[in-house]
């Protein structure tokens, strides 16, 4: 009996299959891709990837492929492809600029899922890290959920048992950038009662496993558990600090839950901006400072729903005396920090160099502080120096000092 050959089309959507044929190799996206910025290697660019994957489909599915090439895509070829695919930070910039409107972020994600299910699998660090940890602990980090709030939840803040406003920090904020979660709960607390899940019920959102490791099989159990846990707390509006958690909540949870979510999931900054508008939150301390704001990828170019660009700016403009200037690339075309979707773990060099580029761009605005609102951006910007710089970012040294990095909620919490 012959083994059934791997089907490269199965599980892709019609749109994705069409998109593979739509790329004109116009090379526009190469000018914007953060990975290109620090590697200068067109072989790992979006058009090269699209061309390769389309080639696998043609090789296995068309008459031409069957006549002129071997039936099976070689393992070496797939390994190369996998390297290229996981060098991408899933920032979605290529899709935003694509001259034929390819929604690349979803496409890369789907293709990752396929490659993870193929003989080459996903990168080992992601398999051994977030995925195995999740199976054991329901968290991407190797720590018990019971301790999830311990290092950052402030003693002087009170959490209601049940409330209409809920808060979900996300594992990244809890363990990697806890200042962010602390800032958020202080602000929410100032505005009124809010509630959170019991720490042992506060599972991972699924992003590191689904996007990083390409593993979707955990999602149904996860989405069911989480939606139920939030509903049990009586939550109507859920503030989410990590933009990637929010993105996957909007994109995949409803599907895997099998219904619309029974609460409104929104970014913490969105909820806070609403609260400022409703007059429940006010910043009294004036600041004499110039800041710039970095739009995290998952807010600037989300999978689903509108980009979240205005609320953080609204919040900053509500602070008396604050001057906000935009970076050259901001909003929908903001520069990626290089940390997401496994990049930091799989390609630490690329990741840090991208962060240096972003840091330089922020510094060039002349601002005193760069604010962001994502645990990964925050972490990656703050630790950008931990690997050897690529020659193309050598100039970063000139910018190294005198730019403070902070999270927007932590920053605002100090101004209450």
């Amino acid at each position: 009996m012959t083994e059934k050959p791997f089907d490269f089309t199965e599980g892709l959507t019609k749109k994705e299959l069409i998109e593979l044929d739509a790329c004109t190799r116009c090379n526009e996206c190469l000018a914007w891709c953060p990975v290109q910025d620090v590697t200068d290697d067109p072989n790992i660019s979006p058009p090269a990837r699209i061309h390769a994957y389309k080639g696998y489909i043609e090789q296995t599915h068309t008459l031409k492929g069957r006549l002129f090439s071997s039936k099976k895509v070689s393992t070496a070829e797939l390994k190369n492809f996998k390297d290229s695919l996981w060098k991408c930070a899933l920032c979605g910039t290529c899709g935003e600029v694509c001259t034929v409107g390819i929604d690349t972020k979803k496409l890369w994600w789907s293709v990752r899922r396929k490659i993870a299910a193929s003989e080459v699998g996903c990168p080992e660090v992601l398999e051994k890290g977030p995925l195995q940890n999740y199976h054991k602990l329901r968290s991407p980090f190797p720590f018990e959920l019971a301790h999830k709030y311990k290092i950052w939840f402030p003693d002087d803040v009170e959490m209601a048992d049940k409330a209409e406003i809920g808060y979900y920090e996300g594992c990244g904020c809890a363990w990697d950038s806890p200042q962010m979660a602390e800032g958020a709960v202080r602000l929410l607390d100032a505005a009124g009662p809010f509630t959170m899940l019991d720490p042992d019920k506060s599972w991972c959102c699924g992003f590191p496993q689904a996007a990083g490791s390409g593993e979707w099989s955990i999602m149904a159990e996860l989405a069911n558990h989480m939606v139920k846990a939030f509903s049990d707390k009586g939550i109507k509006r859920l503030a989410v600090s990590c933009p990637m958690c929010l993105d996957i909540m909007k994109y995949l949870w409803p599907y895997f839950y099998g219904d619309e979510l029974p609460f409104e999931a929104m970014a913490t900054v969105e909820l806070l901006a609403d609260l400022v508008e409703e007059g429940k939150l006010e910043f009294s301390k004036p600041v004499e400072e110039t800041v710039t704001y970095h739009d995290p990828c998952a807010m600037a170019r989300p999978f689903m729903g509108k980009p979240i660009l205005e609320p953080p700016r609204k919040l900053l403009n509500a602070v008396p005396g604050m001057r906000l200037i935009n970076m050259e690339r901001h909003g929908k075309l903001s520069r990626c920090c290089g940390g997401s979707a496994g990049e930091r773990a799989v390609n630490p060099d690329i990741s840090a160099n991208i962060a240096r580029k972003l840091f330089m761009e922020a510094k060039q605005t002349g601002a005193d502080t760069v604010l962001t609102n994502c645990p990964v951006c925050y972490l990656n910007l703050a630790t950008r120096t931990h690997t050897t710089p690529h020659p193309v970012v050598e100039e970063w040294r000139a910018y190294e000092d005198a730019l403070k990095i902070n999270d927007i909620t932590q920053y605002l919490a100090a101004l209450l």
């Binding site: 959507t13 019609k14 299959l17 044929d21 739509a22 409107g101 929604d103 149904a220 099998g258 509108k306």
Partner: protein
Amino acid sequence: MAVEFWNIPDGLIKVFYAFAGLTVIIFVLGFWGKIRIWSKGMDADQELKGMGPAGLVWLSIIKFFSSDCIFAKRVFPRSVIRGLMLMGIMWGFTILFLGTAGRSLNYYIVQFLEGGIWLLFSLILDTAGFLLLVGIGFGLYRKYIGKPERMVKNAQDGILLGLLFLVVISGFLVEGIRIAVLNPPAADWSPVGFVCGTMIKALAGTEALKSLYVVVWAIHFLFAFSFIAYIPFSKYEHIFAAQISNYLFQEKWKKKEIPRDWVFQEEIAQRRQARQNAAHPQPENKTT
């Protein structure tokens, strides 16, 4: 007005028909291969829900004429000059393609290209050819001279673009030689052809031109058919696909996906059922 086959030996005309037939067969096979793969995809987008091959072909045709495509709406924000280039190529190619079809219709079925209409028709086709030439010229320039900083290299792309360039050039030469030899009264309604004709007239005598004509004519149809046959096997298949990706991208921020019909469906349904049962417990079945 059977100008198509002026001065072409019968044997060559037979070859022409054979090539035309072969081109159509290869093109249709290639195109069908693509459509078949697309229709294997899962339903996740409302706009494509339940569409089979026929629906996808239809969508591809109607969306070809969407403003996104004919006004290169997604290219202009990135670069005005490339937007113009694309419009030149797209309008040029489309008009020439439809024009050639119209000419065959006129020749074989109903004669409608006469008098003023014929003159206008000539002018439009000539202009379209010119737009196409300028567009491709810029495409070649961008590929080999004023290159973007980073570029994916692919020999096939260059060869095909060059091929298309030669199709247009040889087309103008064919027209030019014919004008040079026949001196038709309304040649100035084909300005580019007229200019070519005037230049060619100065170069060679009528007999030499007549034999050159056969060669250039053969090159023209050979290259044109090769290009068309190659479309579904090269990046030029974007001609069928790019209008659909453009169309769906517009909906990106607004839309919700419809549930995908795939492996997890069963698990999702089970959990949903369990949830509903818990929310509305069924009274225990009493057996009578």
